[in-house]
């Protein structure tokens, strides 16, 4: 039995993330039996309404990773954000393969490439929380609120964060 390229690569990434984790980010496979299903925890970036929150997300990898990007979905409570679908799925350019650009606004250079990594995805998502991309909203309501009623948006986000912490 040999493990596939995808598995080996995910081993490497896991080891790298556990010995040298970036600030505010934790990630790893849910079970050692399945390297293709990970859970990640992201701290809300400081100086944003997400500050103080901890957001859990699941990452699913395809068998031909890293040729194809994984998918990422916030779990356990919505993240009210223009680039996060109401079901939690994250819509960010680094998760999109360069081949298809359904939104026609992303530069190929921002999108997935086999040299990207879980770490880079999570860092991108963190900065996405701080600075939403207004161009292709996944959550139209949130995008509208962010654009037109910023105070209300920030209050709603803070409320969600509180709720998520059980306060």
């Amino acid at each position: 039995m040999g493990s596939s390229i995808a598995q080996k690569r995910l081993f490497h990434e896991y080891k790298n993330l556990s010995t040298n984790p970036p600030e505010g980010i934790t990630a790893g496979p849910v079970s050692e039996d399945d390297m293709f299903y990970w859970e990640a925890l992201i701290q809300g970036p400081e100086g944003t309404p997400f500050e103080g929150g901890v957001f859990a997300a699941e990452l699913k990898f395809s068998k031909d990773y890293p040729l194809s990007p994984p998918t990422m979905k916030f779990v356990g409570g919505g993240v009210w954000h223009p680039n996060v679908y109401p079901n939690g799925t994250v819509c960010i350019s680094i998760l999109h393969p360069p081949g298809d650009d359904p939104n026609h606004y992303e530069h190929a250079s921002e999108r997935w490439s086999p040299i990207q990594s879980v770490e880079k995805i999570l860092i991108s998502v963190m900065s996405m929380l701080a600075e939403p991309n207004d161009e292709s909203p996944a959550n139209v309501e949130a995008a509208k609120m962010w654009r037109e009623r910023r105070a209300e948006y920030e209050q709603k986000v803070r409320d969600e964060v509180r709720k998520g912490l059980g306060l």
Binding site: S4, F11, H12, E13, E32, K63, L67, S109
Partner: protein, 417 residues
């Protein structure tokens, strides 16, 4: 956690040699994160494992780093990187062991050792230099020194650092010179290894046949000859056995090939030819990548080993892959290794229901065609008119009921249903 304990550049971070982490990272392929295996360089001057970049190019046709278009044909082997990797890998474990020992020692002795007095600084620096040459830089000293520098005089900071760096560079150059400059002032032809005066090499190269058996390379008793000897005869070996070098498999334009021709091609290559067309294409591409990257190897694997790698691919991404692969479902029943017992067990209730339906249907049929025959039908299963009843009588768990019932209600046997 043992299964996750892969060697990694982060191994250095906990040791005093943490600066080796970026060095090790740079010797690893950015696609697979492993040490470069048969490194090749692209037209845009990025280096990857041969297999990794071939897979990328066959899916996307672009360099993963800079996304400029490239072709497999333009990939060139990168021997220098291969040499770095091999020599680094040879040294890695012993250096890491030393570094870890030192880290442990520092941890134990941390409380007793205080910052040395400024008087000792000069002596310290000399020590460090000497130790660097045997790849055993004293980390404690390095650290305390930098702390000290920060503490007292920020102006002097760059000076000792630069000194130390220069020291290391000179040192490695020295080694290189010892290795590469021959004592007799002669230079070996890169093809036939014959020694000659330096200015004669270029004119010789124009005519060099490379056929004459090379004289044994001059023995060099230096400690480094071990690492180099594995690499140096390599152009020689490639040159001397061009017939043995495996031929590369050319890329195919799949759209020009009909199914049967494609299957024939796979058979000719000696790889499995079953499965629907998209799987055939993917399998051919994978085989082409495995094969051609093997051609880049200094020590090519056997075809058998490659077939095993293709088998791993088949199980993880190809036709035997579990999960939502579009290739796993429809053709499953048709395959030789199809698990008939498992299938009939998991679909037992479906089969029973269908058999019941079939029985009712055939009973009514028999009744309508041969009035009064329904009571006799069981006993007369061997006669022509009652033949359709026979398979219905078979116990459902006996063999594969699929075939016997297929004629009666084929719709229900759509495996996706």
């Amino acid at each position: 956690m043992d299964s996750f304990d892969v060697p990694d550049s982060t191994d250095w971070l906990e040791t005093p040699l943490s600066l080796l982490a970026p060095l090790e990272s740079s010797l690893r392929c950015q696609v697979c994160k492993d040490f470069f295996n048969n490194p090749v360089i692209t037209s845009c001057s990025h280096t990857f494992c041969s297999l990794c970049i071939r897979r990328c190019l066959s899916t996307e046709g672009k360099c993963p780093v800079c996304r400029s278009s490239d072709q497999e044909l333009k990939l060139r082997r990168n021997w220098a990187v291969q040499e770095f990797v091999e020599t680094f890998q040879n040294a890695r474990q012993s250096v890491l062991d030393l570094a870890r020992k030192e880290a442990a020692r520092l941890k134990d002795g941390d409380s007793t050792i205080r910052e040395p007095s400024p008087k000792k600084r000069k002596v310290d620096r000399v020590d460090v230099r000497e130790e660097v040459t045997v790849v055993q830089a004293s980390p404690r000293r390095a650290r305390t020194r930098s702390q000290r520098i920060k503490n007292d005089a920020p102006n002097t900071e760059p000076v000792p650092v630069a000194q130390e760096t220069i020291e290391v560079i000179e040192d490695s150059q020295d080694e290189g010179e010892e290795e590469y400059v021959p004592d007799d002032g002669m230079v070996a032809c890169p093809i036939c290894q014959r020694k000659m005066k330096a200015h004669a090499v270029f004119s010789h190269l124009d005519t060099c046949q490379g056929i004459t058996p090379a004289p044994p390379p001059p023995s060099k008793p230096s400690a480094f000859s071990v690492a180099h000897s594995s690499l140096q005869p390599q152009p020689n070996r490639l040159q001397s056995s061009p017939g043995n070098a495996p031929e590369r498999i050319p890329a195919m334009n799949y759209s020009l090939l009909k199914d049967n021709l494609l299957r024939k091609k796979l058979r000719e290559l000696g790889i499995p030819d079953w499965g629907p067309r998209p799987l055939l294409q993917r399998r051919h591409t994978e085989w082409m990548n495995l094969w051609n990257s093997n051609c880049d190897s200094r020590i090519p694997k056997t075809k058998r080993a490659l077939l095993q790698e293709l088998d791993i691919w088949e199980r993880t991404q190809g036709g035997h892959a579990a999960g939502p692969s579009p290739f796993a479902t429809n053709s499953a029943v048709m395959r030789k290794d199809f698990d008939a017992a498992g299938w009939s067990a998991s679909h037992d209730t479906d089969f029973k229901r269908l058999i019941a339906n079939a029985r009712i249907k055939s009973d009514t049929q028999v009744r309508s065609t041969i009035p009064g025959a329904s009571e006799k039908s069981t006993g007369e299963s061997s006669t022509g008119s009652a033949a359709p009843v026979a398979p219905v009588e078979a116990p459902p768990d006996n063999g594969i009921p699929v075939e016997s019932n297929q004629n009666i209600e084929p719709r229900s046997f759509d495996p996706s249903g």
